[in-house]
């Protein structure tokens, strides 16, 4: 949410595949949050595509690139979100 407040129009979270997280289950816990936030965005009338999680191992450079392209095109198709006019942090 902080990213949106600072002016982002979308947020991509790129993490390793299920079971490959170096920090236990952090990737899947994040996934739960992402699913929740998407549901909440729906409820609030914000496009859920503005937040995406991609699973992508460190060696999968190509997948990383397609993920970034995917979110960029999705966000491009959406209007920009309102920005803090005065004094953006």
């Amino acid at each position: 949410m902080d990213s949106f407040l600072k002016g982002a129009d979308g947020v991509a979270i790129i993490s390793c595949h299920e079971g490959e997280c170096d920090y236990g289950r952090a990737n899947m816990n994040t996934n739960k949050h992402v699913i929740f936030i998407r549901r909440l965005f729906n409820h609030l009338g914000i496009d859920e595509d503005r937040i995406q999680q991609y699973f992508c191992a460190a060696a999968e450079v190509e997948k990383f690139v397609t993920s970034v392209e995917d979110i960029t095109s999705k966000i491009r198709s959406l209007p920009p979100l309102p920005k803090n006019k005065i004094n953006p942090k």
Partner: protein
């Protein structure tokens, strides 16, 4: 649903603040535990979550609005009401929450009103002075419900146990116990408890279906008062006073308006009540009669069968307060929308079993298993026995045996019910019946139309209204005295 076009940066900021609220976080993080506990299904969990989110978000919008000025009053609130298209009742409900969370402080500006009744004066709320507190960390923090148990101000209503999403609270002998290993620290128990804080002004507005701040006197807001008794002979022989409470449930079962009702029945220990889910007319007869021992009726709200049909709730004033509070805060416990009637009975105080009721029996030297009926009447506690004897003690001599927690209760006549039923004011064998809401009126009219009860104008009975008002007032005065004492001694007290 909003469209993205109407989004503002402030809105996004409020969403972020709301997501940061501990209640919302705990509900998100605790989703797996909640679903595992089986009290809320996934759909019910989402209903609870999103309704709570919306209200919490509106709360932060109100706080943002209040922050713009160093002090705000009723007129300022009206600006918020018009721009946000919400009603005054909702705003007052949120203010009570903000105040309890110490995010704002509110000074109420009252006007003294004289009445023609026994030189009584009362305060009429005319304005507010609201200041935003600059406290650290500037957001709500979790407080465990244990503080209410420890401070001895728990009404024992059972609401917290009935709505806890992981079912980890038990009320045993009027004392709450939380299983800390299961608790997910969502704070919902604290949020919904009638002894943490109560938005009393908006509660009265809801009862009146009104959007104005009005005074509500000693008896709360009501439409009409009657004196009445049942015509059903099966009830007459077992009921406490006029049997109107039992007749209401009896009729609601008969006319198929309800599938069940929450009430109290005797447990295996004589005169120790337990929460009871009535399923038929026969259950009405078996659960009639007053048990003066405190009973957490609302802890049964998590019973699965309640979601399959409509039901009525019988309870004392604190039960009714908890229910109305949950409604005002849009609190979606699974069966919230199935509660169709709230039948409130009067209550001056209740007793714990061992430290209260059994000691009273000892005082008059009666074995508890020989007791056939108990009653509070004309300043005395009466005990009738199976062998036909009658014993009594003046209430004055046993008030010290009542639950200390009841000292901070202001409500005699179940001001938050649809229909309130007691005995004070009416002749022996009759009930005083206060009709409070259109739903209550509908039920009462149906009882008369179906020739189930006998009803007379309350003005025509003795001792009547002045006696009822006097005793209701004495409870309020006593409560205020205890609240003031607790404030002075820096003890925790409920915020009404």
């Amino acid at each position: 649903m909003n469209s993205e076009k109407s989004l503002t940066w402030e809105f996004l900021k409020n969403v972020a603040e709301t997501l940061d609220s501990f209640r919302i976080r705990a509900l998100i993080d605790g989703k797996d535990d909640i679903l595992k506990a089986g009290i809320y299904t996934e759909d019910q969990y989402h209903a609870l979550f999103f309704d709570m989110f919306d209200l919490e978000q509106l709360k932060y919008e109100l706080l943002t609005f209040l922050k713009k000025k160093s002090e705000s009053n009723l007129k300022d609130l009206k600006t918020f009401i018009t721009t946000k298209k919400v009603d005054l009742k909702t705003v007052l409900t949120l203010l009570a929450l903000l105040k309890n969370e110490r995010l704002v402080s509110i000074e109420e500006i009252n006007e003294q009103i004289d009445t023609d009744n026994e030189n009584l004066t009362f305060n009429k709320l005319i304005d507010f002075n609201i200041k935003v507190n600059s406290i650290f960390p500037g957001k709500t923090v979790y407080e465990p419900i244990q503080v209410i148990f420890d401070a001895k101000i728990c009404s024992g209503c059972g609401m917290c146990a009935g709505i806890c999403p992981v079912n980890c609270i038990e009320i045993i002998n009027g004392i709450g116990k939380v299983d800390d290993n299961l608790c997910i620290r969502c704070g919902l128990c604290y949020y919904i408890c009638p002894r943490t804080f109560l938005p009393t002004t908006s509660m009265h507005m809801t009862q009146m279906h009104s959007n104005k701040i009005e005074d509500h006197g000693q008896l709360g807001s009501y439409i009409d008062i009657f004196s009445a008794r049942t015509k059903i002979s099966d009830i007459k022989s077992v009921c406490q006073d006029g049997g109107i409470t039992s007749s209401c449930i009896y009729y609601l079962f008969n006319s198929k308006q309800i599938d069940s009702a929450l009430g109290a029945k005797m447990s295996e220990d004589p005169w120790r009540p337990m929460p009871f889910l009535l399923g038929s007319k026969e259950d009405v007869i078996s659960s009639a009669g007053t048990k003066y021992v405190n009973n957490p009726n609302l802890s049964l709200l998590n019973d699965k069968s309640l979601i399959n049909g409509n039901f009525a709730i019988v309870g004392v004033p604190c039960h009714m307060q908890a229910l109305l509070k949950s409604k005002l805060y849009n609190f979606q416990f699974p069966s919230q929308n199935n509660v169709i009637y709230r039948l409130g009975i009067f209550c001056m105080e209740s007793f714990s079993y061992e430290d209260g009721f059994l000691k009273i029996c000892n005082l008059v030297d009666v074995n508890v298993s020989n007791v056939s009926k108990t009653d509070i009447n004309k300043g005395k506690f009466f005990i009738y026995t199976n062998d036909g004897n009658e014993f009594s003690v003046p209430i004055k001599e046993i008030t010290h045996l009542a639950r200390p927690d009841c000292e901070v209760c202001y409500d005699l006549t179940s001001e938050s019910s649809d229909i309130s039923i007691g005995s004070i004011g009416s002749p022996s064998g009759w009930n005083t019946v206060i009709i409070r809401t259109p739903e209550g009126k509908k039920l009462y009219d149906e009882l008369i139309a179906n020739d189930i009860i006998e009803s007379v104008n309350f003005n025509d009975v003795k001792p009547g209204l002045s006696m009822l008002q006097k005793i209701a007032r004495s409870k309020k005065v006593k409560c205020q005295k205890h609240l003031d004492e607790k404030r002075k001694e820096n003890h925790r007290f409920p915020s009404y």
